[in-house]
Structures are given as structure tokens and as C-alpha cells.
């Protein structure tokens, strides 16, 4: 089905005009256009089964707290400032701060390095080998080293997130810049574009489709890094909450924290998709809605 094929990223697909023709059969098209409410059926069934494990006393709520219990615990964590956990919103803010700092740092570095490497051979020869080495390094294997270097405060955690976020974003942005049609570079020359203008009008927008793919990946890695980093010697944040709950054997609190992580991950993914729809509008019908 040509309409759902992802277009060649960063370049002008040769068959662009052909691909826009909708050759989906009418019946199928009607189904595709329908609000797909039925997609929610299987998750709901799962939720009911989960609740039944408790109602029918199949699994101890200590091990697997039912959904109702998770919700009530969440409400308690928000409304009651307990000595063991503080409040959920406080933990959320602490985690978000870490994430935002680390991600901003990593993303900025990644885009800058990718631009340097993407625009010149010399830049590539200097930057790329290092990034390729970092790429193969197991991220979480660095944790002990980071602790020795930067202690157990905020810094090693932020740096771990930054590094995790930087690698996929760098790789994709670099590939994106290199995928920009050389003919458009030549056009820029004919139009007398200055280097800055070339970057702004041709190179960076041309790299954007792949950069956004990288952004999604890097957000995924960044959230993962946050979760791992927060399990170490924290005194605030969702990870701290999980650590405390582990000690008090309160699985319901752990479930709440995991749920919040999940919601945060979904939220950022949705934001990137929104960004894609807005900035890649020029691909028109090529972009599978």
C-alpha cells in the first residue's frame, strides 16, 4: 500500500507524486477513516483480568496490587505528604528537572556536533570517530566511573541522561545532513546564499526528518537513563520513591511511579509527533497520518 510507505527521509522521493495517489480500496479506506475506538478493547480486557486476579484472590495484592489499589495509592501520594515518600508531584518535579537538564545538554551538544561533522570532512574526521566510540560504549557501564568522577549528586545523573540522549540524536542528525540533496546545495550556490542562509534554508530543514527520528530515539534512551540514574543514591524523585517503596515492600507505590514514567514517555512521544506534523507539513500526503 503506497500511502503508508514512509517516504525516503531527508531526500526528495523520486516517486513523490505517484505515492500521493490513493489507491486504497474504498471499503478499506472507510475502515481506516473510522475512529478506531476498538483499539481500546484489548487493553481494557487486560485491565479487567488484572483486577480479577485480586477479586478472585489469585495473586496476593502485596505482589500485584490491583488497578483500583494503584489508583487509590496514587491519590494518597498526591494528597498526603508522607515522611517516607514526600508527595508524588514533588518527586515528579525533581525527576523532570533532571530529565530536562540532561536532555537539553545532550541534545544541544548532539546537534552542534552533528552540524560540525555533517558540514565538513575535517569536522567529520574529528568528531565522528569519538561519537562512534561512545556509541559502542555500554551507557550504564559508565555509572561506576561517573560516580568516581562526579560523586553521587545531581551531576553524574544529568550527565548520564545527556550522554544517552546525545548519541542517537547525533547519529540521525549527521545522517540527515548528509542525506540532503547535493543538487540543492548547488542551487544555493547559484542563488548566492551565504553559509548561514544555506544552513538555515537548505541543510537543517533537509536534515529535519531524520533529526526527528533521532529525537524520538534519544527521548527513549533519556527516559531509560533517568530511571536507571535515579535508582542510585537519590533523595528526591520518582526513582527515590521506588527505592523507598522497595525497602517498605510497597509494590503499589512502585506501580504508581512506573505509571508516571510511562505517562511521561508517552507525553514526550506525542509532543515529537506533533512537532513532526507541524514541521514536515511540506511532505503533504506522503506523511502517513
Amino acid at each position: 500500500m503506497s500511502t503508508t510507505n514512509p517516504p525516503a527521509l531527508g531526500t526528495l522521493p523520486a516517486g513523490a507524486r505517484l505515492a500521493r495517489k490513493d489507491d486504497t480500496p474504498a471499503g478499506l479506506r472507510r475502515v481506516l477513516r473510522m475512529p478506531r475506538w476498538y483499539r481500546i478493547v484489548s487493553p481494557l480486557v487486560l485491565l479487567v483480568i488484572w483486577q480479577l486476579t485480586n477479586v478472585l484472590s489469585l495473586i496476593s495484592p502485596k505482589k500485584l496490587p490491583p488497578p483500583t489499589r494503584v489508583v487509590s495509592t496514587a491519590v494518597d501520594l498526591v494528597t498526603i505528604n508522607s515522611p517516607a515518600y514526600g508527595t508524588l508531584q514533588h518527586a515528579l518535579l525533581a525527576s523532570l528537572e533532571r530529565m530536562v537538564l540532561g536532555f537539553a545538554l545532550g541534545a544541544t551538544a548532539a546537534v552542534m556536533l552533528a552540524t560540525v561533522a555533517g558540514l565538513s570532512r575535517l569536522g567529520e574526521d574529528f568528531v565522528d570517530p569519538i561519537m562512534q566510540m561512545l556509541r559502542t560504549l555500554p551507557l550504564f557501564g559508565l555509572i561506576p566511573v561517573f560516580i568516581v568522577w562526579f560523586g553521587i549528586g545531581q551531576l553524574p545523573k544529568v550527565l548520564l541522561i545527556a550522554l544517552g540522549a546525545a548519541i542517537p540524536l547525533y547519529l540521525n542528525t549527521f545522517a540527515g545532513i548528509r542525506s540532503v540533496d547535493a543538487k540543492l546545495g548547488e542551487l544555493g550556490q547559484v542563488l548566492g546564499l551565504r553559509r548561514r542562509e544555506l544552513l538555515r534554508h537548505i541543510v537543517l530543514p533537509g536534515a529535519l526528518p531524520l533529526t526527528l527520528v533521532g529525537l524520538r530515539q534519544s527521548l527513549g534512551v533519556a527516559w531509560l537513563s533517568l530511571v536507571v540514574a535515579e535508582q542510585l543514591n537519590t533523595n528526591a524523585g520518582l526513582g527515590f520513591m521506588i527505592n523507598q517503596a522497595t525497602q517498605f515492600l510497597q509494590n503499589d507505590v512502585i506501580f504508581v511511579a512506573l505509571l508516571v514514567y510511562t505517562i511521561l514517555g508517552l507525553l514526550t512521544d506525542w509532543l515529537v509527533r506533533l512537532l513532526e506534523r507541524r514541521t514536515l507539513a511540506w511532505r503533504g500526503g506522503l506523511l502517513a497520518a
Binding site: 544555493g188 547559484v190 534554508h201 530543514p205 529535519l208 507539513a281 511540506w282 506522503l286
Partner: protein, 245 residues
């Protein structure tokens, strides 16, 4: 504006190429080529594929970094490529205004688009345009810079026959209006004969043949002069015309 010089080049040429040589490895594509184009002159360059037409055009556009020989241009150069080369992530109007350094860039771009008949498509994305429309945008983008030399690199090659005829008319109108010198690279002898003041044949790295076309436009394809010119040019290109006529 300087007048055209019907017979040969009397006024200072807008483009002068002398002794231009270009090699790709062992192959010598251009060999001591000389060429002059007068202001406002419409020149068509034909040649077999691989004869170096595009290489010459790229040298004139300043896109060849290692030309061996002299290429002198008086004024600015505009170019329309075979593929329209629109920037897909800039809207039609912004494509034309791109890199245009004057305070009224967008107004100028808009009127250029009106001139090519695309005032209804100013804010569309290039990918939504038809081949002919995209080529019009490309023409507007080249013309808005008011070039003294307009290079057309087989801009109609990928268009269907009907669109091509419309585009021929448009190019002639724009040329009458703005009077840039035009160098049209094409492999279509009929296209060259319909449009140009002078048809050049590029063979063996040099201009092997000059054919002035002194007929008023629009030209009748079946005019006896054009038929004999066509046969002459085709035989210059090494095509046997006996069987087709």
C-alpha cells in the same frame, strides 16, 4: 538596454568563453571552446547526449570549480535546471524569494510568480505542483534576479508535449518582456528552431556549427526554411534524415 545584434556580435557580449577546455579523466569533453553571446540574444545549444552541453552551461553558471580557459560574464546569471530544483520545505513564494537581497524581495517574488501565471499557488508546497507548474516557479526564481544571462538546462525535457508548447510561449513572452540573453541547452532540434535567434551545435568539444534563424516568431514548424535548417542541423548531429523525410 543594449540592443540585439542580428548578424554576429557587434556590441560588448554578455558572455564570452575563450579556450575553454574540460577533461573528465582521460575524456576531453570541451576542447578549446570559444563562444560569445550578445546582450538580449536567444541562443540554443544542441548536441548529442554526452557532448558537453551541460558542462559548458555549468562553467557559465560558475558551478565548475576547475575550468581551464576564460569565462567572462557581464552581469548576473540566472539558471533553470532540468529538474526544477525547488526547495521542498519552502513554499512557492519563499522559493522564489530565497536569497533575494532587496528590501521588497517578497513583492518582487510575488510579481514574478504572477508573470508566470502562478499567482494562485503562492503558498503551496512544491511537492503539490505539477511538473509544468514547478518549472514555472523555477523560471520565476531565475528571472526575479533580473539576470543579464539566463541559462536554461533542458528545462522542458521532462514535460509532456502540450505543456512544453505552453512553456515555449511563456519563455518567449518573458524574453520579450525582460530581454535577458538566453542560452537554452536542449537535445530537441525543433525546440531550438522554434525559439532561438541562433542555433549552435556542440560536437567534439567545440561549437561545430552556427545556424542563424532569421524568422519572425511564432514560427511555423513546416516553414520551408525551417525544414531545410532542421535537416542541416540533424545531419550536423550525425542523424540520417533521408529515411524520415
Amino acid at each position: 538596454m543594449a540592443g540585439r545584434s542580428p548578424g554576429g556580435v557587434a556590441v560588448a557580449p554578455v558572455a564570452r568563453v575563450s579556450g575553454l577546455t574540460r577533461r573528465f579523466g582521460e575524456r576531453c569533453v570541451l576542447d578549446q571552446l570559444d563562444l560569445e553571446i550578445a546582450p538580449g540574444e536567444f541562443v540554443a545549444l544542441i548536441g548529442r547526449s554526452g557532448s558537453g552541453k551541460s558542462t559548458l552551461l555549468r562553467a557559465l553558471a560558475g558551478l565548475d570549480r576547475h575550468p581551464d580557459g576564460d569565462v567572462a560574464i557581464d552581469g548576473s546569471v540566472g539558471i533553470a535546471f532540468q529538474e526544477p530544483r525547488l526547495v521542498p520545505w519552502r513554499r512557492v513564494l519563499d522559493n522564489v524569494a530565497l536569497g533575494l537581497r532587496r528590501p521588497d524581495a517578497r513583492t518582487a517574488a510575488r510579481s514574478a510568480l504572477v508573470e508566470v501565471g502562478l499567482d494562485g499557488h503562492l503558498h503551496e508546497w512544491p511537492l503539490t505542483l505539477s511538473g509544468g507548474e514547478a518549472q514555472r516557479v523555477s523560471l520565476a526564481r531565475a528571472l526575479v534576479r533580473e539576470p543579464s544571462l539566463l541559462l536554461l538546462d533542458e528545462p522542458f525535457g521532462a514535460l509532456d508535449a502540450l505543456t512544453r508548447i505552453t512553456m515555449h510561449r511563456l519563455v518567449l513572452d518573458l524574453w520579450e518582456e525582460h530581454r535577458p540573453a538566453i542560452l537554452l541547452v536542449t537535445h530537441d532540434v525543433d525546440e531550438a528552431l522554434a525559439l532561438a535567434d541562433r542555433v549552435l551545435v556542440l560536437a567534439d568539444g567545440r561549437i561545430s556549427h552556427h545556424a542563424p534563424v532569421d524568422l519572425v516568431r511564432p514560427r511555423d514548424r513546416d516553414h520551408p526554411d525551417l525544414i531545410s535548417l532542421r535537416n542541416r542541423l540533424l545531419s550536423e548531429l550525425g542523424v540520417d534524415t533521408k529515411g524520415t523525410q
